[in-house]
Symmetry: C2
Subunit: 386 residues, 2 copies
């Protein structure tokens, strides 16, 4: 049974430190001690002690007084700011066709980015080498030493265990069974967090994409190997075994149709990972080619089925369509029409705002979450009571 | 931001009272003050004060000393017990064919039960009258005055709003738009909580049925109008608009087949709510009738499809099949086979243990949850931090 023990001075210090840090990060620009005392409700000596400790740790620094104050008589009040540059974070996407990385400071603002293509058939070693090259490139161009990294988030297809091992992945050669987290930890001296790509993308759209105003969302990563990620009450729903949203098999049930068959205009299925061929079908459809149009219609019908299954099971407020469909202007109307026909409470449907950047952005957010949990550990456990 | 304020004597009293009540309900039979002091870690004067307060409120009473103690010399230590009989709870099912009610004390142990058939075509007034009759009968036979009821839980088909209004229900005539909670509150002077029937059944199987060892479950209420309820981390997942698990429309997508068509052996669809006819098809199938066997196979295939969609979306640890399927011995093996074929991480699959009683049992549990939230309000908010 949880009990309030009270009176632990180290716990109190941590709470106070987290409260002050929160005020420094979220509130007014460069608050004074008086500002911090007012916002936090703590005593002035407590705030002073906490701020000194944060300065020693490198997380906070004294800011220059602003010009207006400097001109006034008397000594200007000291002002403080959170040092977002005290550490850095990486968000990495490892996909079938490309790897990408985003770099940010401790405030999550992106300050560097890079990506490279990679062959679908690339081996594990080739793909990881490509990841290392992209990361090294982004760090070098940004002038950030590797030792400044506090956490690395990674988004990749497949079912991912909590320790970063890929339990099952049909999209990348050699990925099933790979201890991806462990392999990547050799390149970094900070925590590496591996997440399913659609889950990462859902987190990203909620953070700074199409779903910032909703806590109950389904993100559908449309593609030849479709996946989905969902947030329930603002929290990622991974499922009991990390396989929630792995809807790729759904269309097989009773119909045995796959995207690569549906999207073929020749009678021969497309190669399961040949997204270039898919893009051509979409382009031809937009240009009025009837066969391509019919193929795209078949694909949309299939997408509707996948989305409807997710919506009926989860009842989200909002569905965000990403992956290929982000380039499919015509997908939303048929999707809305069909969902309103089949769902007792149809959700809103919208396209991804982050597009290609969604997976890496979500991976970055997961790294940021990890660091914030450490910085605000005590506050986190307090606010979780709400 | 949540802050620990400390020092509020009324809050402390409530915490201490909840802690002592919890120890009295959950721990050893009839503890002494010494037992309670040891278990709770509170001081003896505090425990004494709290116990006196609980006795005054009627929730606790002094128990007779046991015989061994009575024979020993000296005054035996006073012993105390929780008075489960200090209040009562009802769990009510309102279905297409029958209404049922379960009665319990404040410990949730069932002490009375009753049910009546009701016509599918019954009007709202007829159905509610039947509910009132069943409840009156159960109370009378159990010798419990209506004034002793502390909460009433109700399980019924459809999408149910938080205030107990049925937003949408295709199974019961007149049910869509009915302010069911408000109507029932006229018959009771205590809170009435209305919940979707499959959701209630999921709660029931988790409480005392087939799912007591798992917190991540999907319960499938197989039937002509199928539904599902799910628990995620032990909590009911209702969805953003209360429609999660309303999978009835799923089979329409792309296939336009309904259970009443699948289960027909005549070419003519069964009546959508004629569960008697369904039972006959199942019986004939068991007796070796080929047409009936084929119909049941078609139905199982459809059930597999529904369950697979839920499993792919939610990734539960365990799927519990209730409703008709509880009478279908043969459903589990094909279901397991198909799920292992289509799901990346197939869940365990089992049949409902509660059968017909699942919905009313879950409704009773929801009433109990409500009362426990009141009794243990403070404790609840403390333990929720874990």
């Amino acid at each position: 049974m949880g009990r309030l023990t009270g009176g632990d001075p180290s716990l109190l210090r941590r709470i106070n430190s987290a409260v002050v840090l929160h005020a420094l990060r979220g509130g007014a620009d460069c608050p004074t001690l008086t500002d911090l005392t007012r916002v936090t409700g703590l005593s002035r000596p407590t705030v002073e002690g906490v701020v000194e400790g944060l300065i020693e740790s490198g997380l906070v620094t004294e800011a220059a007084p602003d010009e207006g104050e400097a001109r006034r008589q008397g000594r200007p009040a000291r002002r403080f700011r959170f040092r977002a540059e005290a550490g850095h974070l990486l968000g990495v996407e490892i996909g079938p066709h490309r790897v990408a990385a985003l770099l940010s400071g401790l405030d999550g603002r992106v300050t560097g980015a890079g990506s490279r293509e990679v062959a679908e058939a690339a081996s594990v070693e080739e793909r990881l080498e490509r990841v290392r090259a992209v990361v090294a490139d982004v760090l070098r161009r940004s002038g950030v030493p590797r030792s400044s990294l506090r956490a690395v988030g990674v988004g990749t297809p497949g079912i991912v265990e909590a320790d970063g091992t890929v339990r099952l992945c049909t999209a990348l050669p050699g990925w099933t069974g790979l201890a991806l987290g462990e392999r990547l930890r050799r390149s970094f001296r900070c925590p590496v967090l591996v997440e399913n790509d659609a889950n990462a993308a859902a987190v990203a759209e909620h953070w700074k994409g199409a779903a910032t105003d909703s806590d109950d969302i389904v993100f559908v990563l449309a593609g030849l190997s479709p996946g989905a990620g969902s947030l329930i009450g603002g929290r990622l729903h991974r499922g009991y075994g990390g396989a929630a949203g792995e809807i790729g098999a759904l269309h097989l049930l009773g119909r045995e149709v796959t995207p690569e068959t549906l999207l073929s205009t020749t009678g021969e299925p497309l190669h399961p990972l040949d997204e270039q061929a898919v893009a051509e079908v979409f382009t031809h459809a937009r240009q009025g080619d009837e066969g391509a149009r019919a193929a795209v219609d078949r694909f949309i019908q299939r997408l509707v089925h996948d989305v409807a299954a997710l919506v009926l099971a989860l009842d989200p407020e909002l569905v965000v369509i990403g992956g290929w469909a982000a380039g499919l202007d015509g997908v939303l109307d048929p999707l809305r029409g069909e969902l309103s026909r089949y769902c007792l409470r149809p959700p809103r449907v919208t396209l991804s705002l982050l597009g290609e950047a969604a997976v890496a952005t979500g991976a970055l957010r997961l790294a940021l979450d990890h660091v914030e949990e450490q910085l605000f550990a005590v506050e986190g456990s307090v606010t979780a009571r709400r």
